[in-house]
Amino acid sequence: MYELFPVIILLAFLFETMDSSAGMGFGTGLTPLLFLLGYDPLQVVPILLLSEAITGFTSSYFHQEFQNVSFSFHRPFNQATKTMGIIAITGCFAIILSVILTYAALQLSKSFIKTYVAILVLAMGIIGMIRLKSKESRYRPKLLTAFAALAGFNKGIGAGGYGPVVMMGQLFSGIYEKTATAIVSLAEGIVSLFGFASFIFIAAYGLTIDYVLLPSIFTGGFIAAILSPYLVRVFPNKMWRILIPIYAILMGVLSLAKVMNIIS
């Protein structure tokens, strides 16, 4: 019989609420916090990936229900589905490449990766704030593909930074904030499922995954995945347009402070 941890449920609920509303924060915010609470990477990373896969599909279903987005899953695919496809497929390829490069070829140091992700997220948040003044937005699929590749690379090296990069990348590519949140939820669900499958594959070669946190993270995350799309529908887009870059800056500053040991 499993055990439910109220603190973990609450944290998962809060971070998933932000993740499904602002398109970022579950992996980038919750992972370091769970490490601080004393949990091991193998108790945290695969469980977050599995949970994000389920909550990603759930929240995107409710984003569609609350009309924040309109996906079409029959040919011809509409523009939102194609955009989600670009992000998800590029992310899946980038995740494989980054796992190989990080764990087999390059052996990049953890602090280098964390510093790079923190600076990237911070810079994107600042650009997002500057962008608030600009009223013109233009659809740029090539730029979106580049951001999706960068985001998938971040997720594969295990330092977080998928949601913020893909979310800000979509906004820079001219996609409406509410719809961008819905697209990132589904794309992240697919990429996370892919990431969890990689862990299952590695587990077949002797790696042990600890599922102790799964029921608690799933409980908090699942409730938030239903509630958040409703919040996105109700609150005006102007609010999300301001809140998302501010939240990205906050995530970047906190990540940078942690890398520099200003907060432990």
Partner: protein, 55 residues
Amino acid sequence: MDHQDNTLKIGQLAQMLDAEYTIIQRMKIKKETIKRVGYALIFYASIMILFTLVL
């Protein structure tokens, strides 16, 4: 297709809701949606039962 049209098409529905409905109007939930939330909660309960059996 023009770039501007693409952007508009992606967020069309949400933009229309924002433009034509007030916050109070957007707060209203259809009966069908409540039913789907109910199904989602049944899905949640099934997963938790699965965890009880597997973990």
